[in-house]
Subunit: 486 residues, 2 copies
């Protein structure tokens, strides 16, 4: 969309090129960044210990409903959800769920240095992180944070995101979070570019997009909030392809072409949208908030709430003593899903254009029935005792992939503010161009189409958004030496 009489807008001019240029800059400084990170880690003091839910301070179990609530009535509530999906594989269940209706802000500040776009990232401690610090957006603020319920210090840099008028908004869209654990939670994902001086506080540092991408390949380093914000950057259009050379790397070439609408796609956009409309219209999901004490099948023992089979997840408590956060000591309930999940895109070249196989997935906490999820998103051990026919489609294909078909492979943490050491193995697995893998609940979609959907709310779930960020990181990755290539 252009201003009348001109052919481009200032905000759009060359953004794809600028993102690509920033994505190509990795050289040398990542090692510096890791040293900075280790230095902060050695200086930050965080102790997290598990405590019984009954021993939480400032939180209590409601005598009638059994809900776990903060004494201020704010932050979030652990309550119950009754779910009915007539005709679904499990047509009725009840479960604990986190209800956090406020829309928070996940914001990354951007600024050009020497003509290269940089992102202001934060090394942030979260109680659920398995390793203390992870690389986070400039701002992660719940509304409680910025209206003072947290009784903590002000959130640095928040003003840039509350009043964007003096700046350029590169991304601004509300997106969902885990629909299995959150009831209709949304956060506002923002990237805001500033021109003036920005003071860099302790624990913050400017990174190029390429440096963030490089860190994304490391286990448990770039946090979930950073990944979802990165995925909303408009990494799409001819400018990306013009800016990056594929050499004779066919996979890279297919990735680059996948960022360009004119290169084509397996399904036209409107066909993808109609498929989503169909799925959202045809699926009945009836959810009802219920008292936590009415959630049958779940028991409260040993200071936690768990499913009577021990599967799925637990609600548990932690006590945190930290330096470098808004407040220094607190307790809170968290969700713990032990064991490593598998989150994977199966990708293939169609007409030389890379496509990801997206799953139209129902989770009870979604605000709109179905979102597009990765090809595989599950915890394999949950299925080990079930009939093999109940296994998620394509899980075995992903688990059996030959090493040379695995294009991305890292263990990444879910949000450390609500999930205790909950980790998934994120994979991109390429299959042969001839493998159609037709399934009514799945569609092949390009990166450009995913970018188009990501301009709007609630089309891609948070796991898919993480994988989109991972695919962007592969677009800009250094081209491996010939002998290392497949």
């Amino acid at each position: 969309m252009r201003l009348p009489g001109s052919t481009t807008t200032p905000a759009e001019h060359g953004l794809a090129e600028r993102l690509a240029a920033s994505g190509l800059v990795r050289d040398g400084s990542t090692a510096d960044a890791l040293r900075w990170f280790e230095d902060l880690r050695s200086r930050s003091y965080t102790e997290v210990e598990q405590v019984a839910l009954e021993d939480l301070v400032g939180w209590s179990t409601h005598p009638v409903t059994g809900d776990i609530v903060h004494d201020s009535g704010r932050f979030f509530v652990v309550e119950g959800l009754d779910v009915r999906i007539p005709g679904g594989p499990v047509p009725h269940w009840r479960q604990p769920i986190i209800n956090q209706p406020e829309i928070g802000v996940l914001g990354i500040l951007a600024k050009e240095f020497d003509g290269v776009l940089h992102l202001l990232m934060q090394a942030k401690v979260e109680p659920g992180n398995c390793n203390g610090l992870q690389l986070s957006p400039t701002v992660q603020a719940t509304r409680s944070n910025y209206t003072g319920a947290h009784r903590g210090r002000g959130v640095p840099y928040l003003d840039y995101f509350m009043d964007t008028a003096p700046h350029s908004v590169l991304a601004d869209v509300r997106q969902s979070e885990q629909g299995s654990w959150f009831h209709q939670k949304r956060n506002r994902n923002m990237v805001v570019e500033v021109r003036g001086d920005v003071p860099v506080l302790d624990g913050f540092r400017w990174f190029t997009l390429g440096q963030v991408h490089e860190l994304l390949a490391a286990d448990d380093l770039v946090n979930m909030d950073a990944r979802t914000v990165l995925s909303c950057l408009p990494f799409t259009g001819r400018g990306v392809r013009r800016s990056i050379a594929a050499g004779d790397d066919w996979f890279r070439d297919a990735l680059l072409r996948s960022c360009v609408a004119e290169e084509g796609s397996r399904h036209p956009d409107d066909e993808v949208l109609s498929w989503i409309t169909q799925a959202r219209s045809a699926t009945d999901v009836h959810t009802r908030r219920i008292p936590l004490s009415d959630v049958d099948g779940w028991v409260r023992v040993d200071g936690r709430i768990r499913h009577e089979t021990g599967r799925f997840f637990d609600v548990m408590g932690v006590r945190v003593v930290a330096r470098g956060r808004e407040v220094d000591s607190w307790t809170q309930p968290m969700i713990e899903a032990p064991g490593e999940g598998v989150v994977a895109f199966v990708v293939r070249r169609i007409g030389g254009v890379l496509h990801a196989l997206m799953h139209g997935r129902v989770e009870p906490g979604y605000i709109d029935v179905v979102e597009l999820a990765p090809t595989v998103q599950c915890k394999p051990e949950n299925y080990s005792v079930l009939d093999p026919r109940a296994r998620p489609p394509f899980l075995d294909l992903v688990l059996a992939a030959a090493p040379d078909r695995i294009r991305f492979d890292a263990v990444l943490s879910e949000e450390g503010g609500r999930f205790y050491r909950t980790r998934n193995r994120y994979l991109v697995v390429e299959v042969d161009p001839a493998e159609e893998l037709a399934h009514p609940d799945f569609r092949w979609v390009t990166l450009d189409q995913l970018a188009g959907l990501l301009r709007h709310s609630h089309y891609l779930n948070v796991q898919a958004r993480s994988l989109v960020a991972c695919l962007h990181s592969l677009v800009c990755a250094p081209i491996p030496a010939p002998e290392a290539r497949t």
Copy 2:
């Protein structure tokens, strides 16, 4: 989005041109259509009488909640809603509301005759219509209709919309309906093009888009469901402008340019989306379904439920005896909002491109806080007793518009299946290009941008969609003789 290796898709090829060509065909046959309509009206027998809510048959008032429910538990429920909007002009209220969670289908069948696209429209009786028959989509089906709860005859033509695989889908998107009277109601708006023979049943007739547009200018003729489906047709792109001559009609020229992204817009698309994100993030709307008997301020007298001031709307009952509907006799509750509302787009030329001034509006029944509404949407008499400062912005501008600035003016009915003789005056009022009319809750948006938003759910409310259909009708309208022009 194209197929790899090609430059256009079959589904996209020339659709804008084909819509424009169909829109230009009006000559002569509209009079025929009106005669067909009058003939059906003379043959259709419908008697609607108001009955007390206690005299409804098959519906009862729940002894505890006071909700009005059908004995089958299906169709819809009249219940209560508690609404809290902290900081809003009215921060808390309770009201009756219709809860109808099923997603129905509003579908128009399309087919080419002699190379011109035609739409299969239905002359349909609805109990709330002030004039019995109105022009309706091919299919208006609640899920109860097609799963048999209605115990009526099958819905003709429904199969084309349930299994679209053999056909071309021209539009397919779920959209909201009146957020003041419905709790999160959505319908699936579809246009499906078929190639084979289609039998034309009594009460159905093929129309060009131009003929439908001509009828849209008449009072109470094209029903709300038809208008919302028409608005979702992708009436956008260079093809529209290429196909239609503006002559020396500057308003037409600005309308045509408004359909073309490359002609520019006051705000880039991403700025419009960011404004919507901001509005949806900043506004807290807390709604809670409550028993109808807990809705204070509303009273049940004389067989209806009304606000104690007599304002807003009533819940009332009707008994219907009809021929030509699924069942021949029934009673049901309806909503009646007497008096004529005003629904208006204020439009202006910016850089020669027509823009409509859209309002980011909160209604309690929206699934996502805010939708884009017309510049003005209100019942002026509701404000007559209030402080003048409470008057809706731009209402007086619209009411005082000189006749030569009024580009569209017709009284149109709201949905006759739920609303009893509820009508609004729909207006398009052009202001001088120099009138900025800046207001934080309003933005100038082009027809192309509105078409882009209409590919997705829940951006434009149902009143705005009606006005989009009206603007499309002006794009194709015959160019008036010079002396008639302004």
